[in-house]
Symmetry: C2
Subunit: 115 residues, 2 copies
DNA sequence: CCGCCACATATCGTCTGACGACATATGGCG
DNA sequence: CGCCATATGTCGTCAGACGATATGTGGCGG
């Protein structure tokens, strides 16, 4: 259904930052790895296109929430590893709170929990 | 924090349809009433501006998910009451499922529950 | 050794929808 | 009579997802 596809697109809006921040919280990761992790951990439930992923990484770095570092290794194309900054940690915590209260509010209005 | 404000804006994307469909599921409601219900039931956690609400109502009606009817009453400005259509009921059910699995996936990737 | 695929990063143009600002109209209250 | 709550409506701006497209590398099969 087209409706569902459109909705899924909208859901990604805003969630991208949370996903990226949460994934680089564990350890430094590069873009491609992040994309794959989102795909695998969500069981394909959330797919995040590279055309959106890289620009989002740059925005997060510009805002000082993550910090990138080029890593050159023999046998592997150069990768840019991003790690969470101190400020990023604060924002991640705040975003988790925002999402959680949003879920709760959405449940109160539209009764979403327990399908 | 500007970040939070931006995030909140993005969260509304896509959720608007679910909220409206869920509210007119109970009984026919008019736009202004819907806006107030979203505000009150979410305890102000979700605010939905009229500039977005009315266009969304028109989109939903165009797609045949809700059906509007003008109601004139003495002592009250004319109101347009929207009720859920059969097709709207199907879409609402589907959207609840999409949201629920999105929540679950987001939790698996970014551990959002229990802030 | 060459083509193809997975890996890895990058950019452009299009489209959608939220929102601030503004507009219009009516009933009630002081 | 002015102001506020009610109620519907529109315009211009802005952000961000995504399809398409591009570049470059390492490994593997034929």
């Amino acid at each position: 259904m087209a409706t569902t596809k459109l909705l899924e697109r909208e859901l990604k809006r805003g969630s991208a930052e949370l996903l990226i921040l949460a994934l680089v919280e564990e350890r430094a990761r590069h873009g491609y790895e992040i994309a794959q992790l989102i795909d695998s951990r969500s069981d394909g439930g959330i797919r995040y296109h590279v055309a959106s992923l890289y620009p989002t990484l740059y925005r997060l770095e510009d805002r000082g929430l993550i910090e990138g570092r080029w890593v050159e290794q023999a046998g592997v194309r150069r990768r840019r590893y991003y790690k969470l900054t101190k400020e990023g940690r604060k924002v991640l915590k705040s975003q988790r709170n925002v999402w959680e209260s949003f879920f709760a509010a959405l449940d109160r209005v539209a009764r979403v929990r327990h399908a």
